[in-house]
């Protein structure tokens, strides 16, 4: 009985606390991100991928989208390429502006300097025991694809201060490093300087043709960084989104106007609006759950009433005995009310303990859930 009453008291209040905290945390990150540009499709997927680094299945953009925003002069664009993982933590290919934009601070080590460098979030550092000077290898996209892209060993140059956000569990690299992981850039021994002639198949003008024996670097170091290069125009290289920081409200409005056209292949999204839509759905579910809890609570209260009535009936002889040996009806009623009171008091205490624990840990719990 105590458990039932505890659950009835705790569930609606506890759920309310959870939903409110989720709303607060989701809105906090969304509100601090003015605009996101991404390929047309699910705006929620785009926002969740960009803000929380969750994998999502949507089309990619090219760096041209960043150039296009930059050229308008309305906003600062920050490219985001969130596709790969290293030891289950997301690799976020971006520019150093992202670190400044989020107000992230480097606790140990230094900032990104050269290709192959990465900065890790505090949780990545703590969970994997990694520090500046260590390395981390990107996970292959598909372990069955043996002809696929080679994992890249990245050099950890800095660890971010804890920010209680998804940034704590991310690995930040320059976007070019992310393109190397994508296979768009690579490094190999310089054929012009190579002493091993068996590697060279032929020369076509300035181009050297090599066979499969050519050594490909899977790590970028000071010695080989110059051998890394990209094939093709970088404007056509992929990104998953652009975080856009408009200079003013007017610039924001003007910029958004540029994405209204039906011919436009990308979309511009206000993250807080997308999250609000998501929350509206959550609140609909919460409303439904509240109704269910209300029905369950009413049913349980009726059931508890029935249990109390049946219990009184079962105890009628005991009550009668107490009366016969001299107890007053008032005293007997007092004892029964006291017993029921104890049940409710215990339920209240247990509910209060659960609610205190919920309030104490809800922030961290939701953080884990959202991250």
């Amino acid at each position: 009985m105590v458990t039932s009453v505890t659950v009835i008291i705790y569930l609606p209040i506890g759920l309310n606390i959870l939903v409110n905290e989720s709303e607060e945390q989701l809105m906090e990150r969304a509100s601090s991100t003015p605009l996101i540009v991404g390929a047309k499709g699910s705006s929620l997927d785009l926002v969740i991928n960009t803000l929380y680094f969750e994998p999502a299945d949507f089309d990619e953009l090219t760096m041209l989208a960043v150039d296009k925003i930059y050229e308008t002069g309305f906003a600062v664009p920050i490219p985001m390429f969130i596709k790969f993982k290293a030891r289950s933590f997301p690799i976020v290919g971006t520019s150093i502006e992202y670190i400044y934009f989020r107000g992230l601070e480097i606790e140990r080590g230094e900032s990104l300097a050269v290709l192959g460098d990465c900065i890790i979030g505090s949780e990545v550092s703590e969970k994997l025991g990694l520090n500046p000077g260590d390395t981390i290898i990107s996970s292959p996209e598909n372990i069955l694809d043996i002809a696929g892209i080679y994992p890249l060993k990245m050099n950890i140059v800095g660890v971010l201060k804890e920010s209680h956000s998804p940034d704590d569990r991310a690995i930040f690299t320059d976007i070019k490093t992310a393109w190397v992981i994508e296979g768009l850039g690579h490094g190999h021994e310089n054929l012009a300087k190579s002493e091993d002639n068996s590697v060279l198949l032929g020369v076509d003008g300035n181009n050297y043709i090599a066979n499969a024996k050519l050594f490909q670097y899977n790590t970028i170091s000071a010695e080989n960084v110059d051998e890394f290069h990209f094939h093709g125009e970088q404007a056509g290289f992929p990104i998953t989104a652009v975080i856009v920081i408009p200079n003013s409200d007017k610039d924001e409005a003007l910029l958004m106007g540029r994405y209204i056209s039906k011919d436009e292949t990308s979309q511009i999204v206000k993250p807080d609006k997308a999250i609000k839509n998501l929350l509206a759905s959550i609140f609909k579910i919460k409303g439904l759950l509240d109704s269910v809890f209300s029905i369950v609570a009413i049913s349980t209260i009726l059931l508890l009433g029935l249990v109390v009535m049946l219990s009184l009936r079962l105890r009628s002889r005991e009550i009668q005995t107490m009366y016969r040996i001299g107890s007053s009806r008032f005293k007997i009623a007092e004892l029964l009310v006291f017993e029921i009171g104890i049940i409710f008091l215990m339920s209240l205490v247990f509910s209060a303990i659960l609610l205190t624990a919920t309030i104490r840990y809800v922030t961290e719990f939701i953080r884990i859930f959202i991250a």
């Binding site: 005991e318 016969r324 040996i325 001299g326 107890s327 007053s328 005293k331 007997i332 004892l335």
Partner: protein
């Protein structure tokens, strides 16, 4: 001394009637109440204890007319003067033996649970061979042991009038004998009046008087 004069009682919900023109039970004596089922043996005990009040007539116990007492006074009288033993023991299942014995003190604010009372409860339990089981739950006891606990509960307040409703009805011969002996001993040692309802005519020889309710009609 119990004096009954022109007693008339009926239940409003059925046609049961009990009418006793005159009856005296001597103080400190042992009286057996007999009669077929439905003749009001339990009702008679309830009238003596003030649980039921007669529509007419008087019941005087130790010179006090209990019919003239108010509810609260009747209850105080019952607590302080009367001890009850029931056929089905009527113990509280979730309490230990000791707590059952001390139950009158738990439910009556006018009775003070002192160290002396606790000692008395333990002495009674020891007399009844229950001293090593005081912390045991009553559901684990035999029928005889349950009745012994019920007797301890009735005696712990030191009643001047002991009312027993078929106290041996559910007991084997050995426990029947022990129960009757205990009740008789208490009545004799404390000069208390014992009124016992019984169907067992083999016990009647030990009583000072027998009240046959059949003789008063139905």
């Amino acid at each position: 001394m119990i004096k009954i004069r022109e007693l008339y009682f009926e239940y409003s919900r059925n046609d049961f009637k009990l009418s006793i023109p005159e009856l005296d039970i001597k103080g400190g004596s042992k009286a057996a109440v007999i009669g077929p089922s439905g003749y009001g043996k339990t009702t008679f005990l309830n009238l003596l204890s003030g649980i039921n009040t007669p529509q007419k007539g008087e019941i005087e116990i130790d010179s006090r007319n209990i019919g003239s007492l108010g509810d609260s006074e009747r209850r105080s009288f019952r607590i302080s003067k009367i001890g009850f033993v029931f056929q089905n023991f009527e113990l509280v299942e979730y309490l230990t033996i000791l707590d059952n014995i001390l139950l009158p003190y738990r439910i009556n604010p006018s009775l003070k649970l002192t160290g002396e009372v606790r000692s008395r409860a333990r002495e009674l339990a020891e007399k009844m061979g229950l001293s090593d089981k005081l912390k045991r739950n009553v559901t684990k006891l035999s029928q005889g042991e349950m009745q012994r606990v019920a007797i301890c509960r009735a005696l712990v307040t030191g009643p001047r009038l002991l009312l027993a409703d078929e106290p041996t009805g559910n007991l084997d011969p050995k426990n029947k004998e022990l129960t009757i002996k205990t009740l008789f001993d208490y009545a004799e040692q404390n000069e208390s009046t014992l009124v016992t309802v019984t169907h067992d005519h083999s016990l009647l020889g030990g009583f000072d008087s027998v009240i046959d309710l059949e003789s008063y009609g139905k």
